[in-house]
Symmetry: C2
């Protein structure tokens, strides 16, 4: 697929993808309640004369799609949240931990050629005197933070239109399985959801560049994309561009799963340039520091890694504290054993020492660190099933119960929590996962990988898992971790990342629609009206991937005029089912207006005219 490397935004070596999507403008909605809260949204302009207003959509892409923003990844993004964080008066700057060679997988004295992000003048923040500087702590204290206000405006999308139509969320008639999607999202509603632990707002105080977003089942379903450094990295821009590319297509958060050399340096570049929360799996880096020997891992090395990453600004950590020693033998008879990398590292450690997982035994100390920076937990499912045969087994559910126990511990420390879920699960066992997660984990947000609904389609696992993701999203999962076509086979490239993100946007959106979310429905209706009225450009521009839609159209009808024509390639110019519908409307209108129906027949015949001469085949939708 052709990329849209728009006008380069920085000198050679530091360029990333910028520029708006077709017919789209970045807009900022100001909070009427809190000065300085300006929420970025995307507005898609439709064809002039269509009588259709612009359609506002949720925008994860950050300043990169804003022509008014001069992108320079060497400077990083503006520190949007800095003033809010400082205004709370509960944090202090300090010297922070010095970067060590092993943070980048280097030997003592070894120098990397990878350029270092210039942090001069920047010192990390942490909580003063053991306080919890988390959104959860503020929420419990009754404070609606600017972050919460930002999220309220961002999530309110579509409600204005609905109100103009005189309709309510209830009128949309979705089925939300006990979720409580509000008629109007207020800052207070956001605060309450966070206070109850039912949503998280991942916002490390050392990542002020991030635009606030929320993960919880009473909000729009979110998606995560994974990125990671490759063996040979030609430029830091390439790494940053993976992030920029993923959020351009809709990733709400990005996990940096880099391993090997230069990961500290690359993480710094990523965070300083990320408008979305960044998640990591700290055990990966800790393992690097002990030369890849799982049994050499210690609490001290792990602890130091948490602080290193918290100071950089990582917003959530995957912590596999539920992989308890007694559960490990439960996996012995599985078809695919332990497939989580984090899970197997910890299983190996537990077996080598015959000791309980040190993440479990030190869990309260982990909480103490995380509350000082507002890093959220993503409690990892290290024992998730890696095949249909292993779904919903004793090992998986034992771990889930422990994650429930740990959720309560984290909440005790005012630390935000979400729970990771599987994996490979056949359709009929998906709902049990959701129901059990809600029950065991006190409605903490669920964050699942797919699940894949069959094992037999390597090369198409974005689809096998997109099916499960849509379903579990509908049932209540708050964030869906994407799977690319390369899953199980190799490393995703740029096209794979895009296909993975778009597939997961489809799953999340289908879930929002089924739950009855007003923003979701607005876009479907706008696109369907455009389709019906042959506004081809509007149909492309309202779609999740305007370039692919336009390219596919042009393969059959390349002429520019075809995009203005009131027909499509399927039925040709002279016959068209949509054209006939206009006649049906005229008929129904006249039927109402006139009494005599028999007379109508003649009138219609007089209008007559040839309607069909195509010799093209038809796609499925038209038979």
């Amino acid at each position: 697929m052709p990329d849209i490397h728009s006008p380069l935004s920085a000198p050679d070596g530091f360029a990333v993808t910028t520029g708006p999507l077709p017919s789209s403008r970045k807009i900022h909605v100001e909070s009427p309640r809190l000065a300085g809260v300006r929420v970025a949204l995307r507005e898609i302009d439709l064809t002039e004369g269509s009588g259709e207003p612009p359609v506002r959509v949720y925008d994860t892409s950050g300043p990169y799609t804003d022509p008014a923003h001069a992108t320079d990844i060497r400077a990083g993004l503006p520190a949007l949240r800095r003033a809010w964080i400082e205004a709370r008066g509960d944090v202090e700057t300090y010297d922070g931990r010095a970067v060590r060679p092993e943070d980048n997988g280097l030997k003592d004295g070894e120098v990397s050629r990878v350029p270092v992000f210039d942090r001069s003048g920047r010192r990390p923040l942490r909580a003063i005197g053991g306080r919890a500087v988390t959104q959860l702590a503020y929420a419990r204290a009754g404070i609606v933070t600017p972050e919460m206000e930002y999220v309220a405006i961002r999530e309110n999308l579509g409600r204005a239109t609905l109100r103009e139509q005189g309709r309510t969320v209830r009128d949309l008639g979705g089925e939300s399985f006990g979720a409580a999607i509000p008629e109007h999202v207020t800052g207070e509603f956001v605060r309450d959801e966070i206070a109850r632990g039912r949503a998280i707002l991942p916002a490390n105080i050392n990542h002020p560049e991030a635009e606030p977003m929320i993960i919880g089942r009473n909000f729009l379903v979110k998606i995560n994309a994974n990125i990671g450094n490759s063996a040979v990295t030609s430029s830091v821009a390439e790494e940053v561009d993976k992030l920029v590319w993923a959020i351009r297509w809709g990733a709400d958060t990005v996990m940096d799963l880099s391993t090997g050399r230069n990961i500290h340096t690359i993480r710094e570049w990523i965070i300083r340039n990320s408008p979305v929360p960044i998640g990591t799996v700290p055990i990966y880096q800790a393992l690097e520091k002990v030369g890849g020997q799982a049994e050499e891992l210690t609490w001290e090395i792990f602890r130091d890694t948490l602080i290193e990453q918290a100071e950089q600004g990582v917003d959530y950590f995957t912590i596999h504290a539920g992989v308890r020693l007694p559960y490990i033998p439960l996996t012995a008879r599985r078809v695919t054993g332990i497939v989580s990398r984090g899970g197997s590292i910890l299983a190996k450690w537990c077996l080598a020492h015959h000791k309980e997982n040190f993440l479990y035994t030190h869990f309260e100390e982990i909480c103490e660190i995380m509350k000082a920076y507002d890093v959220a937990f993503s409690l990892g499912d290290g024992l998730r099933p890696g095949s249909i045969a292993d779904a919903n087994d004793a090992a998986q559910f034992a771990e889930l119960e422990t994650l429930g126990e740990l959720t309560k511990t984290a909440w005790k420390h005012d630390v935000q929590v979400m729970i990771e879920g599987p994996g490979h699960v056949p359709m009929h066992l998906i709902k049990e996962n959701m129901d059990k997660q809600l029950r065991e984990c006190g409605e903490a947000p669920f964050y699942t990988l797919g699940p894949l609904t069959t094992d037999i389609a390597p090369g198409y696992d974005h689809i096998t898992s997109g099916i499960g993701a849509a379903m579990i999203g509908w049932f209540g999962t708050a964030m869906l971790c994407y799977v690319t076509p390369k899953e199980h086979l190799g490393l995703p490239d740029r096209d794979d990342v895009k296909v993975g993100v778009v597939t997961y946007k489809i799953a999340a959106h289908a879930a929002d629609l089924a739950k009855g979310h007003p923003a979701a429905r607005e876009r479907d209706d706008a696109l369907s009206r455009a389709r019906f009225e042959f506004r081809w450009k509007d149909q492309f521009n309202l779609s999740l991937d305007p370039e692919t839609a336009e390219r596919f159209h042009d393969q059959t009808l390349p002429a520019e005029g075809a995009k203005l024509a009131h027909f499509c390639s399927m039925c040709g110019p002279k016959f068209c089912s949509m054209k006939i519908t206009q006649e049906v409307r005229d008929y129904a209108a006249r039927q109402e207006a006139e009494a005599g129906m028999a007379a109508m027949s003649e009138t219609f015949k007089e209008k007559g005219g040839q309607i069909y001469l195509s010799d093209r085949p038809l796609p499925a939708d038209h038979h």
Copy 2:
């Protein structure tokens, strides 16, 4: 994607794709009960020394993947069923209808350059003296036909393995929503399902080349692919190859939606070379015959077209007899009106004449024709929703109720029936479609197009609809009509057809798994074992698309040795979560064998060894 045009099978201009899939052999299972019933299956051979038996899978590809078959499309396929049909003694040959210029969209005296299939010596068959020569009539008479016996063996896949494991279908624990998947499929079970109208076996007596297959919710979920001629056709082989290509990847039936010129000729080439049932929408050809003027359509022209196509061997007809005049105004307030082409042709006719749909008024006469050839009904949903906004509305459900009424009429005439369904439906409204269809149509098989679960992703509608297809397949839909990535945008090419078919095989298979079908589970487990044991070639060969899986793998690790290596590109050679599982198994085994657990820790440590040195990024499944 690269195609696999294997060694050409015929002289230039008549070549189609032939040759087996990797590591696959065509096998034939003979019925112990009925001589001459030899059921074609595919057997996938796994790596020598793996200790794994070959895996048998359902095979739609026909003789084209059998090296023992000399493909020559000018001769057509062998008439597998001819002897069975003749042995029943209820049919006669006759001269048949003469081909007219308008059948091919030609003017009087105009000659087409498209070569004509040589039918010399072939005369059509029809029932003697008004008899019903349908599988339904035989089933009701208590006869297990060879076709039913063939289907029983074909559908029994996976049950032998299950029995060897000492397990039953019930042990698989699926949820089938009231479907009754038998422990063992017998010819008698097939007969009974057909007799009850709960399954159809589409098998026109003039299409003896087709391998019997069944569509019903107590059997494997089937998929249909649509093909159709393009504006410029260079060779008939190109048209036949579309069919061969679709069945190679798993299409169970193929609909020929050709329009325009030469459609009679091309249909003949397709049917003579098709091992799967062929469906059509006869109103398309009838409309051609009246110059594309819907209002000029007459019962006589339509009737003649039915006979023309029945004599050629079309196995099922989409008949839009449910588009009744009073329902048409119900579509006036829709966002996307009438999107079915057949539906809009008939709506236009009804409005022009202000008369009831002639397919509805002549329905019993249609039944009389269809029972004389055993053409099955696919009762078309001409008023299906074309957008999320229009799902499950009054027009759609009014038509469905009429389809239920027509089902009973068809059954009265011993004609087999399935019912077409939507379309565009959000997830939460899908099940209502299935439940209502079962109720209104007396459990006649449901055959749905997707449904698409959102409108906002043109270019990805194989995915938006694959989600809905998997779900409705699970709920009980018997056949899923595929949607390609080009849906709504343009004409599918060869790659689009393959992606559409594979996506729908995923949906059908995920549904079979969730219903608890034994054949489905066997393949998942075999593939997952191969994955776990790093039998890369086996993983590729067991997948739905071995070539794509291998190509994706090779993009990251191209060396041939990598396919033998006990590691993958995700974690590299020195650390591997699957390797660790083997250690877990050893541990669990020793834990059982030995009493002292503390001692184990030291043993493990001594084994030690470096386990991790990768600098590669990780895909989602490994964090």
